[in-house]
Symmetry: C2
Subunit: 296 residues, 2 copies
């Protein structure tokens, strides 16, 4: 990882974590079990990639990134809600997440369903409370995020397509369309939101969105490669699970080597998208390079 | 039902239903299964009580109620999300809802979890899109609704408390606190939102909220009484279920007669709360009387 990317993560990750700690209800506030489940799942670690992307995009326009922290945290809440629900027995049925028992293994299914619901609700509550931003910017941010999480090319539609595709033979295009909605929409919206609340103009917002889409796809391919090549201890979640469940993956379709080449191409395209922003985009480019090399 | 209350429902219910039809994704938009599940659950009927309360409160301040319809629909979406998730096997495990198989019986558990998630997401998307209202009013509306649906005295905390209380002997106070969050918070917020977006002043908003809290509790007691006294065909959901699951109910604690007396008292207190609004509150009072007599 580049030094400046490393030092960005070293500063921003603790800032995100402590903002999350502040925004999540305390464990001693009732219902305590539920609040324990929320904090367990959100504070379990994770790369904080969506918050980092949001902060990095915002930092193109603003010196002080603290105002964007609650928005960045809301993105992590939304991401965690999706992990909790995806891990449920009726869905991907996964017992491990971030190296620990998944939420329903630890707290039971009812609590996991409610914990996911709670985090999704808290996502919007958190954004709506950000009075440091103009209200009209906030309503647009909420609308945009809800679309990215929703059923029309958003995260939920990706999960539906993903479940429906189990055991089927997909083309690369079909697989891409699943990932564009399942992980790409939220990742690219994280970048977009940072720019939007930072004050990017409309051409810049387009560039940021394109950047987010490219690295979103690259990120998913790397994930597939890691699922194929790494052990559970490295991943913190059950490994080899995709193949076992008959899920289409990039390595299965293209092989590991060509998947890695595709990741390099996408990362280059992402870099290309933000070239008009000049040196201000270095942080985003550094993150994209970090994501690229994660899978090597 | 009073003539004017009847004629209000006769006009507003179809208006709500057609606005819901318009706001929900069409069945032929992919993922079609999921969108079918959404429409199945939302358009299955139901009293549209929360939308009606919202429209009635808005109508105190505005002649034309059409601008509030999407907000009213968002409340119904949020309510339906909660019904779908509450009916899941891991939660209340209910096979019937509104006289039909519940969402997971019809579409499977994974789809029901995602349909609930989708409706909650669409709730906030719908409100954020209401540019007919001032943006700062909207962000406050979103914040308030998220709190009512959330984990701190909101709907989710009510569901957690409700699940935890199964088989336990509760006092009337404890039962009341469950219902205040589980159904009361969303009902009272529905009234509040109508007033807030209509332009009520702060004393009026307090009065509307109090009104909503009183009828919210009355509504739940009537529900308990009906669960005890009516058949499944009348209810459209499994009857006698509360007792079977060892849930505390008002009839179990107070008996049917005293429960009904309590409903009358609460309805009277609700009426009292909005007395300062004078004749403009007649519609709300009519709805409260309709709710009261539902249980007789």
């Amino acid at each position: 990882m580049r030094t400046e990317t490393r030092s960005f993560f070293d500063t921003v990750r603790p800032a995100i974590d402590s903002a999350l700690d502040r925004l999540l209800p305390a464990e001693d506030v009732p219902p305590t079990d539920l609040h324990r489940a929320l904090r367990y799942s959100v504070l379990a670690g994770g790369k904080r990639l969506r918050p980092a992307l949001c902060v990095a995009a915002y930092s193109i326009y603003r010196e002080d990134y603290r105002p964007i922290l609650p928005i960045a945290c809301a993105l992590e809440m939304a991401h965690t809600y999706s992990l909790i629900h995806d891990d449920l027995p009726a869905m991907d049925d996964d017992d491990f997440r971030r190296g620990m028992p998944s939420c329903h293994k630890k707290f039971g299914e009812a609590m996991a369903i409610l914990a996911g619901d709670a985090l999704l609700t808290l996502t919007f509550e958190t954004i709506a409370a950000c009075t440091q931003f103009e209200a009209s910017r906030l309503t647009a941010a909420i609308f945009r995020l809800a679309r990215a999480l929703g059923t029309r090319d958003g995260m939920i539609s990706g999960q539906v397509l993903d479940l429906a595709a189990e055991g089927l033979k997909l083309t690369t295009l079909e697989l891409e369309s699943i990932h564009r909605s399942k992980t790409g929409a939220l990742l690219s919206t994280s970048v977009w939101l940072g720019g939007w609340l930072g004050g990017a103009d409309s051409a810049e917002l387009d560039a940021l969105l394109r950047f987010g889409q490219k690295i979103g796809l690259a990120f998913q391919i790397v994930d597939d490669v890691l699922d194929e090549t790494e052990s559970r201890e490295m991943l913190g979640k059950t490994a080899g699970k995709d193949r076992e469940r008959g899920k289409a993956t990039y390595p299965a379709l293209l092989g590991v080597d060509q998947s890695r080449r595709y990741v390099r191409d996408l990362t280059e395209q992402a870099r290309e998208s933000v070239r008009p922003l000049g040196r201000r985009a270095e942080l985003l480019i550094g993150i994209s390079e970090f994501l690229e090399t994660r899978g090597n």
